[in-house]
Amino acid sequence: MLAARLVRLVATLLAVSFLTFFLVNTLPGDPINALIPPDAQQDQEFVAQLREEYGLNDPFFVRYGSWLSDAVSGDLGRSVITDQLVTDEIKHRIPVTGELAIVSIGIAVLLAIPLGVTAGYRQGTKIDQSISALAQFLLSIPSFIVGLVLIYFLSIRLRWLPATGWTRLTESVTGNIKTVIMPAISLALTEIAVYTRIVRSDMINTLKETYVLSAKSKGLKDRFILFRHALRPSSLTLTTIVGLNIAGLIGGTVVIEQLFALPGLGKRLLDAIFQRDFIMVQGVTVFMACVYVVINTCVDLFYMIIDPRIRRKS
């Protein structure tokens, strides 16, 4: 099973890297234009020298092969714009984006589970309706609007938190909390709504299962039934979505990163695309694909932990 997953992982990464390389190469514009100002582009000899230096004159497959052989040995190349190693850039930025993704999803899960369980358990009541309305409301607010509102109240009015910027955990824990909290909440609110709906829906179905009815008939307390017997089997869909979200947020927090001026991976990828920094785009995209595949594999394995039936089947 593990070998099959590994083969799938490698095949996926190869396909992603090839497609990314192909797509980046089809983008309009020449990376040399981004690299040097127009007056320098008058010097054709200099331009030709740079093109040679960056291998831009080689055929597509030669360039891809060269990049791939380096990538396999862990060398994702250097940015053509900044000369920084792509791996260094990823190492520098993944703690920011990773923490943001984990904290925002953590907040969302912590709030969505009780809300979803309550709504499912109280199906059709005013509590259920209220929670559903809240979820609908949260779902309809774009994360950047939430960000702007938070900045207005927590930064400008109350001056509790810095409006922008990022303090790394290694520099200051309190500083880090202060810089992560607003962007994380901005991202979390939409997820809270989604997770709440998923948990509610799964919970309603689970509560109709015979083993739950059996537990009820034994006179077990509601809270015990909900969290001991019903929550775990009701979490499979949530687990899948959370896994996909974590992977998605690794590259998908760019709007929030831009708004709060965070040095994350999504922003770096976006800048690289606009700069036609093809080596950076290639490296970061493959890294993100790798994260995606690994997290999905972890989610599959997690299924077996939370649902004994899947474990037994495996």
């Binding site: 100002p37 200099f46 920084q84 589970i113 207005y152 400008i156 036609r276």
Partner: protein
């Protein structure tokens, strides 16, 4: 906390979830109470040549290193500081974009990056308030009669931040690196520079292949003017080149040294305790103990960051943000340092593409457009002045005659020109007589630029003679379309938003008007040998009145032919927390006042907190 407890009770869940939430929020509150966060701790020149950037300052664009143009007098809404500068303190500046790197010879630099580089590196020359050039690390200079050899004497007693004394050999060594530098190689070619030699301990000789009267202006911008220690970037050492992007200690002689560079987040600098410059009262510079730079791309949150005290200063190149900052500043909490120099929004026609190859179409379209409406659409009403040439009214290169020659709004005149073209049996676009013109106007997809395009479209369509299509491409694509590297510099544009002019000397670059077949920098592809000859002649002297007369003639020709057009001057500003100033009072080593803060480029080595009484 009470609210959380009540919510837990209402939901009947007093479990782990709410405890965790409470802990999280409590931690935030504690963190808020534990002092400020790390961020807030700190307390064409000739006609067609110009910086490639789009209309107004609304999008980030690579600024050419020494695009032509000149100077204007700084304007500011801030009153002079009530008391003098105090020594010490910190400042933090929110900039609109991160610097690609801090290598003057390699990294294409625009306004945000110049704020940072100016703090780390000193230039050989600087601009006075009147736009002329004065000493910085170059103490004095002289040239031969035909301006092909410039002999420069360096200041004495200057050291790099690691203590290495600056000598003429450092300048000569820089040239080796600059010849292959991505940002400097083109400047070397366009300035006719062929050799730099140390001819004494502190004497450097620059040799040019052809006359260039205003050559010293080239030494006032980053690629050729900023002095760095080339020993830190040995040829072929990729790691050293990468490290240099973060400006390691010893690379510059400037007032600050980089102590931490967290790209896209913050760059921290501390004062250079051995900095060589003093103010007019003998106080050693810089005044500030430290300064940090924070890239905040979003205009709104950049201003929010200043309003909330997250940073103590911000820069902006957008008129709409200046308007908002003025509002915030009304209560006295902010100081505004505004500047309206030679940088102007506008656009160009690709004169190789019909119907723009016909001056009747070019003039007709511009005469059908009201500048004030475009400026309003760009958010510059009451902020941005209408532009008529590459130079602002208070520039020494400004020409009243050229202003009168500009194709100002004249609807009837526009109709006459366009009808004349449309009804011409030999019209260049190959359409039938009487058929409407098809034009394509393109700008980067910035909201204010889109608004300006839509207003322009209304004006042109209102003639009933034009079908206007609007397109928008990301900035890199927008610039590449105009460069035309893939089609022998013809470009793939039609009517293209562009930003024109800069504060640099107009003689620095003439390639914007050179034959388009040889110059990607001639974006509109308009070339008139007579016009080009005027620009070349202006490089044969350093006499300002003579040169001004030549540039005036050139500007008139441009305004008659309309290969390029203008909307309004691009106002820029540095806004600061009240008390932080010094941006329009900084001096050159000879004690004379410098140019101020064009393009929101501050000289942080002379910024200060005012002393409180």
């Amino acid at each position: 906390m009470e609210g959380i407890t009540r919510m837990s009770y209402l939901l009947g869940k007093r479990g782990v979830v709410f405890k965790l939430l409470a802990v999280l929020l409590a931690a935030t509150a504690v963190a808020s109470a534990c002092g400020s966060d790390s961020s807030s701790d700190d307390a064409a020149p000739a006609a067609t040549t110009a910086a490639p950037a789009e209309e107004t300052a609304t999008t980030e664009a690579p600024e050419t290193t020494d695009a032509p143009a000149t100077t204007a007098t700084p304007t500011t809404t801030t009153e002079a500081p009530p008391v003098g500068p105090s020594q010490g303190g910190s400042a933090s500046l929110a900039i609109e974009a991160e610097a690609t790197g801090l290598r003057p010879w390699e990294d294409t630099c625009s306004s945000p990056c110049y704020n940072m580089m100016n703090a780390v590196f000193d230039k050989l020359t600087e601009q006075y308030a009147d736009g002329s050039y004065g000493p910085m690390l170059a103490k004095s200079w002289e040239s031969n009669d035909d301006y092909t050899v410039f002999t420069v004497q360096l200041q004495e007693g200057v050291s790099f931040t690691d203590g290495t004394p600056l000598t003429a050999q450092h300048i000569a060594d820089m040239f080796v690196v600059q010849q292959t530098g991505a940002a400097s190689a083109g400047v070397i070619a366009s300035s006719n520079l062929i050799g730099v030699e140390a001819t004494g301990d502190l004497e450097v000789t620059y040799t040019l292949s052809a006359t260039n009267g205003p050559f010293m202006a080239v030494l006032s911008r980053a690629p050729m003017g900023m002095v760095f220690n080339a020993a830190l970037v040995p040829a072929g050492d990729e790691d050293a080149m990468a490290a240099a992007a973060n400006a390691p200690t010893g690379i510059g002689t400037g007032p600050f040294m980089v102590t931490n560079r967290d790209v896209d987040n913050r760059t921290d600098m501390e004062r250079n305790p051995n900095y060589w410059m003093s103010d007019n009262f003998g106080t050693q510079l810089p005044y500030l103990d430290s300064v940090s730079f924070h890239p905040i791309p979003d205009e709104g949150t950049r201003l929010d960051s200043l309003s909330s005290g997250t940073v103590t200063a911000m820069q902006t190149l957008r008129q709409a943000t200046i308007r908002d900052a003025r509002t915030v500043a009304e209560d006295g909490s902010l100081w505004m340092f505004e500047f309206q120099g030679n940088n102007a929004g506008g656009g160009m026609f690709n004169v190789l593409v019909p119907p723009y190859d016909d001056v009747r179409v070019r003039r007709g379209l511009i005469m059908a457009t009201r500048q004030d409406a475009i400026i309003a659409a760009l958010g510059g009403e009451g902020i941005s002045e209408p532009a008529t040439q590459l130079y602002a009214e208070d520039s020494p290169w400004y020409s009243e005659e050229a202003a009168e020659a500009y194709a100002s709004y004249d609807f009837d005149g526009a109709m006459a020109l366009l009808e004349d073209y449309i009804n011409d049996a030999d019209r260049s676009d190959g359409k039938a007589v009487g058929e409407k013109l098809d034009v394509v106007l393109s700008c980067p997809p910035d909201p204010t630029l889109i608004a300006a395009m839509e207003v322009t479209q209304q004006f042109w369509n209102e003639t009933g003679l034009v079908n206007t299509e609007l397109t928008a491409f990301d900035q890199a694509t927008h610039i590449n379309m105009a460069l035309g590297m893939g089609n022998e510099f013809r470009g793939e544009h039609e009517v293209h938003c562009w930003r024109w002019g800069s504060e640099s000397d107009p003689g620095g670059e003439n390639s914007g008007s050179a034959p388009w077949e040889t110059s990607p920098f001639n974006f509109s592809n308009w070339h008139d040998p007579e016009h080009y000859a005027l620009l070349e002649e202006a490089r044969t002297t350093d006499d300002v009145p003579t040169r001004a007369a030549l540039y005036a003639q050139a500007s008139i020709m441009v305004n008659e032919q309309v290969p390029i057009y203008f909307s309004g001057g691009t106002a820029t500003a540095i806004a600061t927390a009240a008390g932080l100033g010094g941006f329009d009072s900084w001096i050159l080593p000879d004690g004379e006042i410098g140019i101020g803060h064009p393009s929101a480029e501050g000289r942080w080595g002379q910024a200060y907190w005012t002393e409180t009484e």
